[in-house]
């Protein structure tokens, strides 16, 4: 057992899912050809002034409320200064001593609660690409709205840091605040980590880790740093206060700068922006827009539908999935069956076609109709899956698709008798076994009929016909 307790705090930047930038009308999507999504404001041209994006403030409030943070009635934008070509004005507009929200927490699956320190709004910087011909500046990302979420140093292991981020991502995706894609950079994380002797209440010297581009990297980098600091301390050394960059391909972090080299940002209240005054009514509005949170929805699904933990997790992974599920249930779909279809058919088809549920060609109502046809015995499960595939391509009701495919179930003995005789001819041993009283062998014969009839045969009628054909009345 280690003699040290690990103390971790995270600083997370999340891009808000707005159409335009935080202070300019340019599109907020950081994609596209370099420097095609920039306005004079993003370039910091002489004479421009920032124009606050109300939608970004609303999403930041939504994030605050979803995380249980308290939105402040008055917050302020401040300028954070440094010279770098990714920062056209020479300062980033952020919030300093008066952030948008304070407090809040995230509860991990292991029950551990990590408190949040604050949440504030700021603009993103541009992107630099270092090439043989020099450094290229792309300002498409400059001015994209971000929230920065700072945790308290409440996490005690790299695994908890991983769990914290995945819970945070879940809540922010679920509430439509952000798509939180670490690979595309819409969620970015810096971590602070220190060790202290077991039993101590004084934190050790902390190290800041940067360049953590995935959840796994966060965990790996923290594990590495935990080992490194343990070794330093165990050898009687002192951990240096510094910023270290993670090099995933090498599996190690390297010092970037010491605490003494930390830049002086010269925070200044931004005189171009009036204070952000948020009244009770707009907080109530944001609370209403927030809707049900994933934790509450999971609880409700467990209680109301008796679904398994795995099912609940899938249905509550995104708001749209649960909404789709509930719409199908509301029109009569049996919850467990609807859930099975969502997991096995709807979501795979959606991903395969690169769609979302809003544009998915089969409505919840149609899936429920299809399930009713199954229940009523009008269609076999095998045929139902074929109907589902057909509905992906054709705008039809399930009953119509069934007919179009010639899959409507048949109970007509005159139609089924040739299939029955063919099965007995093909599998004489099975027929003999049935005749000898081994009912289990009936399944092979039934399967043969079902396949030969392309799933249309009604299993109950087939069984009756098989028994009659194998053991004629004496």
């Amino acid at each position: 057992m280690s003699r040290f307790v690990t103390v971790i705090g995270l600083e997370v930047h999340v891009q808000l899912a707005t159409a335009s930038k935080l202070f300019s009308p340019a599109p907020a999507a950081a994609l596209g050809d370099p420097n095609t999504r920039v306005h004079a404001i993003d370039l910091g041209l002489p004479g421009v002034l920032p124009r606050p994006n109300q939608k970004a403030i609303e999403l930041a409030m939504r994030a605050s409320l979803a995380l249980g943070a308290v939105v402040q009635p008055l917050s302020r934008f401040a300028r954070e200064h440094y010279f770098y070509p990714d920062l056209p004005k020479g300062y980033q507009i952020s919030q300093f001593d008066q952030p948008l929200a304070l407090g809040g927490s995230i509860t991990l699956p292991d029950g551990h609660r990590c408190r949040l320190h604050r949440l504030h709004v700021e603009e993103d910087a541009g992107k630099l690409t270092h090439t043989d011909i020099g450094t290229l500046v792309d300002l498409n990302r400059a001015g994209v709205p971000l929230v920065e979420i700072v945790s308290e140093p409440d996490l005690r292991s790299p695994a908890q840091a991983h769990a914290f981020l995945s819970e945070l991502r879940h809540v922010l995706r679920f509430t439509g605040v952000s798509d939180c894609d670490m690979e595309l950079g819409s969620l970015r994380c810096d971590a602070n980590i220190s060790l202290m002797p077991v039993g101590s209440e004084t934190f050790g010297t902390k190290v800041e880790l940067k360049n953590l581009n995935s959840l796994k990297m966060v965990q790996r980098a923290l594990e590495y740093e935990e080992r490194r600091q343990t070794a330093v301390l165990a050898a009687g050394g002192r951990v240096a206060a510094e910023t270290r960059g993670w090099h995933d391909e090498l599996g190690e972090s390297r010092s970037q700068r010491s605490k003494e080299q930390a830049p002086d940002y010269r925070y200044l209240p931004d005189p171009d922006l009036p204070p952000l005054v948020i009244d009770e009514a707009s907080i109530a509005e944001a609370q209403a827009a927030l809707g049900e949170l994933p934790a509450a929805r999971s609880e409700r699904y467990r209680a109301a539908f008796g679904l398994s933990e795995v099912d609940v997790r899938v249905l509550c992974s995104e708001r749209a999935i649960g909404d789709w599920f509930e719409q199908a249930v509301a029109v009569g779909g049996e919850p467990k069956a609807v859930c099975n279809w969502i997991v096995a058919d709807v979501l795979p088809a959606m991903h395969e076609r690169n769609l979302d549920l809003a544009t998915f060609p089969i409505s919840p109502l149609r899936l429920a109709s299809l399930l009713r046809l199954c229940d009523a015995g009008a269609v076999t499960l095998v045929a139902a899956k074929k109907v589902f595939r057909h509905l992906l391509e054709h705008d039809l009701e399930p009953a119509g698709a069934l007919r179009a495919l010639g899959l409507d179930r048949t109970t007509d003995p005159a139609v089924l008798q040739p299939f029955v005789l063919a099965a007995i001819a093909a599998l004489p041993e099975a027929a003999a076994a049935v005749r000898a009283g081994k009912d289990k062998a009936l399944d092979a014969l039934k399967g043969h009929v079902m396949r030969a009839s392309t799933g249309r045969a009604d299993p109950a009628v087939v069984e009756t016909l098989l028994r009659a054909a194998i053991a004629p009345p004496s």
Binding site: P46, G47, V48, L49, R51, P88, D264, R266, L268
Partner: protein
């Protein structure tokens, strides 16, 4: 010369609308005078002759076609070199922005052009507004029409001279700590600094954002009222602009005299340190106001004692921030960095900015740096709040406050160059209203014994530009200080 031609903006617009003159004729007279006097005065950095002629032609064609004309139809207006106009250069008097052309237009210029104004050119100024003499301009000094060895004041010196020399009846300036009022006083014209936020700053190249106000200079208060009504009002491009206020022109003539008004004389702005002639003019102004029925009362603004220090802390910190964007990367002057980014930025900024600008950036950077900002900035903000409270207390007792605009009249070129502190004290009477964000008006009110103009400053409570202009209008109807000209 065109002595018979109308000389105020209001009169020109009326004459153009009536057809007794044309926009083209008015402009031709203006350009003729500019051509004759500019070699001496150097008020303009650039004259937009072609652009102005096209604008005047459009107005004359509109009139001929019966299209209704705007309230400034055909009025030539000079624009300070720190307001951007799409497709034209704007340099803020700096080498840093030599050759820079803006892709967009300042809101105030958009509104003036929509009202029929003919923008004739950009006027000289202290670099980025930092100076009180127009001598820190990268384009060389501007001379005062009242004496060619005299400074015109600053930073809007070129705009003040454009009106004083009768190039244009109206000129746009900007005022951060007195940059409209002080040159207006030194050049014998009227100058208005509206309250902060009254006129959109969109398109104004920033010096110190919490202090910057776009203002105007004219011969007559009536023209300033006409300008304010067109320029003011909320603008989506400036979130600190607004709120909307009723037009001031409508109420301009509501007073025949000054009866019922109480004019406060803050002793801190009227005490020792005033030039003798300036003090005499101030006494004459008070006597005039009293003779028109105003009640004159003493009052006090104790925080004024620290106003200049407070102003320079706030203005330099904001300037260091606002001017950080001139890094040589995207536009403006760039020097070779020998392959290094920091060297490129340092060399570009050292070459692009003049001494005064570099001095203020260094002061502002130092005073806002970690460990110092608490001592300097928190204190400056507290003093600013105290000054606002002092003004509020004074306006509880008085309708307007009066003081000279500048403690001294125009002085010789080159005389303040080596002594920035003395130059900063020139702003002592104008920075209090700037710090408090209040509207203030400078009116010509007499002259020194050797003929240099002296200006008086009236300050009103927030949103009371209307009262300021009403009083100015009464005074101009009963006196002729504003009609005194330097040149025939």
């Amino acid at each position: 010369m065109t002595s018979a031609a109308p000389t105020t903006a209001a009169a020109i617009a009326r004459a153009v609308a009536a057809g007794t003159t044309s926009a083209a004729e008015v402009l031709a007279a203006s350009l003729h005078r500019i051509a004759a006097l500019e070699p001496t005065l150097h008020a303009f950095v650039e004259v937009w002759a072609d652009r102005a002629q096209a604008a005047a032609g459009r107005i004359d064609r509109d009139r001929a076609a019966g299209v209704p004309l705007g309230p400034l139809a055909g009025v030539p207006i000079a624009v300070k070199d720190n307001l951007v106009l799409a497709g034209e250069q704007a340099s803020a008097g700096s080498r840093m922005l030599a050759g820079y052309r803006s892709p967009f237009t300042a809101t105030v210029l958009e509104r003036l052009e929509a009202a029929g104004a003919v923008l004739v050119g950009r006027t000289n100024m202290d670099e980025f507004g930092m100076g009180s003499t127009t001598e820190t301009s990268a384009h060389g000094p501007t001379r005062n029409p009242f004496g060619n060895n005299l400074v015109p004041g600053g930073s809007s010196g070129g705009s003040a001279v454009a009106v004083a020399a009768d190039y244009c009846p109206l000129a746009i300036g900007s005022d951060t700590g007195g940059s409209v009022r002080q040159p207006a006083a030194l050049c014998g014209v009227s100058g208005l600094k509206p309250g902060w936020g009254r006129v959109s700053r969109s398109g104004l190249i920033a010096y110190a954002s919490s202090l910057d106000c776009i203002g105007a200079m004219a011969r007559s208060v009536e023209d300033l009222a006409l300008w304010l009504d067109l320029a003011a009002g909320p603008d989506a491009a400036d979130p600190t602009s607004g709120p909307a206020a009723p037009p001031v022109s409508a109420s301009l003539t509501t007073r025949g005299d000054l009866r019922g008004l109480r004019i406060g004389v803050p002793w801190e702005l009227n005490g020792p340190g005033l030039d003798d002639d300036v003090a005499r003019c101030k006494d004459e102004a008070l006597a005039t106001a009293a003779s028109l029925g105003a009640e004159i009362v003493d009052c006090s603004l104790p925080a004024v004692a620290h106003a200049v220090a407070t102003y320079y802390l706030i203005a330099t910190a904001e300037a260091a921030s606002n001017l950080a964007r001139y890094d040589g990367v995207r536009y403006g002057l760039r020097r070779d960095g020998l392959g290094r980014l920091d060297v490129m930025t340092t060399r570009s900024r050292s070459a692009g900015f003049g001494d005064e600008v570099q001095l203020r950036i260094l002061l502002g950077t130092f005073a806002s740096s970690h460990g110092w900002s608490e001592g300097f900035h928190d204190r400056a903000r507290a003093l600013r709040a105290q000054l606002r409270a002092d003004f509020a207390q004074a306006f509880a007792r008085c309708d307007l406050l009066l003081s000279p605009t500048s403690p001294v009249p125009a002085f010789p070129l080159g005389s303040s160059n080596d002594d920035p502190l003395t130059m900063y004290l020139c702003d002592a009477l104008t920075v209090p209203a700037s710090l408090a964000g209040l509207p203030a008006l400078s009116l010509p009110f007499g002259a020194t014994t050797d003929g240099r103009p002296v200006g008086m400053q009236f300050t009103a409570a927030a949103q009371r530009e209307d009262l300021l202009l009403q009083v100015g209008h009464v005074l101009q109807r009963h006196t002729d200080h504003h009609l005194r000209r330097a040149l025939p």
